[in-house]
Symmetry: C2
Subunit: 377 residues, 2 copies
């Protein structure tokens, strides 16, 4: 296909795949798209390992890395002192509420002192210091894109990426943020509608994409949020986008890191089964609605903390829940959740990631043909 981003990024199809799973990243890149590894859950060492693996599997084809550099986080995290300071900033009532949840749903209670440590995975990486380390690791690899998923990319990120000749992408949910990102040096804008999985705003893809295309032209824009099919890819390009950025659709691929029981939940879910909730990271993020989100939004909840404190409380707990759910524990199954967009209702079969790319490209072509038949009629 012939779009601005195909030329600029040396790809065949303007389809960017965000995934935490290196196999998905490599499969999409090898199929002619552009895989982007979500780095936030990794320590620098682990990220080094993942990127090395990808380098060994894509034969020089382009891929990228996405780090999460929030503009504003809980000050305990930025004050320095690392994990200890952050743990001390979590009020006791949040641990009590969490323990109560495990008890209420009859999920084997973890060792909380130990859990607090393991729960903290993900917390340190969203500080400026943590993100900076991930950026350094990433730029030492032959990546074709570095993306910032939250907030304006820090000047340091833009400078280092520029020096390394790597374009910078930024995910945004409003035209105002898009303007700010371009001013800060972003080369590519990902306009992400509120129907998206993970951190997301409230303006829908259908409205946001044309608005942002007009705002930042001639900077190319990828459409994101709710996109899982070739018809939606065609719709996005009709809106003026230069390509699409998909995250959710890979969660039910053969390669995905998604635990089997969560994959089942995703396959069964309809577009009504997601909710935008602060209960996982402290910022509004769309995910499967479950007993977890209901309880944190419910009357007994102490309320979600800010980012990254809520991640420290929730991420390790959710990993344990999703793991215990595999053993058939019914309470854990009720609580189990996963970041996913409203397009989960369109994800009904398990396919290899490569096949998802090919199917989207074929459906894209069919949609364009249908439009031609309409105008020629």
């Amino acid at each position: 296909m012939n779009t601005e981003v195909c030329r600029r990024f040396g790809i065949e199809f303007p389809l960017f795949a965000f995934s935490h799973c290196r196999d998905v990243v490599a499969a999409v890149t090898n199929a002619g798209g552009f895989g982007v590894l979500g780095a936030v859950a990794y320590t620098p060492d682990r990220l080094e390992e993942e990127l090395g693996w990808i380098d060994d599997h894509v034969d020089g084809r382009p891929y990228g890395v996405d780090v999460l550099v929030p503009g504003k986080i809980d000050e305990s995290a930025e004050r320095g002192g690392g994990l200890g300071t952050m743990l001390a900033a979590v009020p006791e009532e949040h641990w009590t509420f969490l323990a109560g949840l495990f008890e209420k749903y009859d999920v084997p209670l973890p060792d909380f002192e130990k859990a607090k440590g393991s729960n903290a995975r993900g917390g340190p990486q969203v500080t400026k210091q943590g993100a900076s380390e991930l950026i350094d690791v990433s730029l030492a690899h032959p990546i074709g894109l570095i993306a910032s998923a939250l907030g304006t990319p820090p000047p340091l990120m833009v400078e280092r990426a520029r020096a390394a000749g790597v374009p910078v992408a930024a995910l945004v949910g409003t035209a105002e943020h898009a303007r700010r990102q371009v001013a800060a040096g972003a080369d590519l804008i990902v306009a992400q509608g509120g129907e998206a999985g993970g951190h997301t705003g409230e303006i829908s893809t259908m409205v946001l994409v044309p608005e942002i295309v007009d705002t930042v032209a001639p900077v190319p824009v990828l459409a994101a949020g709710g996109i899982a099919t070739g018809r939606q890819m065609a719709a996005s390009l009709a809106l003026g986008a230069s390509g699409v950025w998909c995250g959710s659709v890979w969660l039910t691929t053969e390669e995905a890191e998604t635990p089997p029981q969560v994959k089942e939940k995703l396959l069964a879910a309809t577009s009504r089964d997601t909710i935008r909730s602060r209960s996982r990271t402290g910022k509004p993020a769309r995910q499967l609605r479950s007993a977890w989100t209901d309880e944190w939004e419910g009357p007994a909840s102490p309320g979600a903390l800010g980012m990254p404190l809520q991640m420290i409380v929730a991420e390790g707990a959710m990993r344990q829940i999703n793991k215990i759910a595999e053993s058939g524990n019914p309470g854990a199954r009720q609580l189990a959740s996963y970041f996913v967009g409203q397009c989960v209702g369109l994800m009904n079969t398990v396919k290899p990631a490569r096949q998802v790319v090919y199917d989207m490209v074929q459906e894209f072509a069919d949609a364009v043909e249908r439009l031609n038949a309409i105008t020629e009629g």
Copy 2:
């Protein structure tokens, strides 16, 4: 253009225009689209007058009527006894809160006993009895479509429309509702995303349209919610829709009934300036965010009543507010609001309705050409 709905409804462009303003309805129909008059705000006599005027101005070209037949409303309204019973069911604290709002924003206090009567406009029409009268008036005119904006069309509506040879359309926000509407006899489904103005669900147009197209095929589907440009019309048809249904975009046309001061607010608003709130009708409806919606969602609020009781409290008050805002009253300007979708951010100039149609059709053609250039590249 050549789509299922163009053939079936005898129109040139598959562009349906929902408006409370007869001038918009006639202008769109005369430009080759399909105007649909929103009837809910009218008494049967007034509706008769409006439809007569349209008949005199469209020279036999097709137009339709939209009535609001909610599936579930406050039982005081259905119990019979009419307006008196409904007024008696409004708790005193709601009138007190309303009076307090007028006072707080220094808006000249209306005569409340009188206001209660005039406020009730709109209330009676959403009962089954009220809707039934509007349906009778409508079917006595040469309409080409009757639409039900909320809930499953009552069997009586479907039977009478069938007998009159008039197709029935139904607005839905979920695939499940679409299935139910088709089972109840709907000939055309309007899949309305959560970004739409007025009564709306939470699933976005980008996700909802392909989901519903697949669910109800071969019944034709119109895409609605957030659509105000030809790019979005092309996107909708790429998603599999057979046409589009637009409401908000007409509010800033030259013909629109919108009060001038509200029109100014709409032109200045961005896509972030709307909110889905129960504060106008008792059911979640998207509108301009204003001091009105903030106060009703705020801590001092007694909470919105159900439909139609909240309409009785709010509709007359909002009419007064919008009217007083015209005189420059600053408090009334803060409170003033209007039902509108997120595409309000794309509505930045005043044009004749006819011109909106022509511009959308031209932009549609441009978008298809752009898609062709992409696939041919």
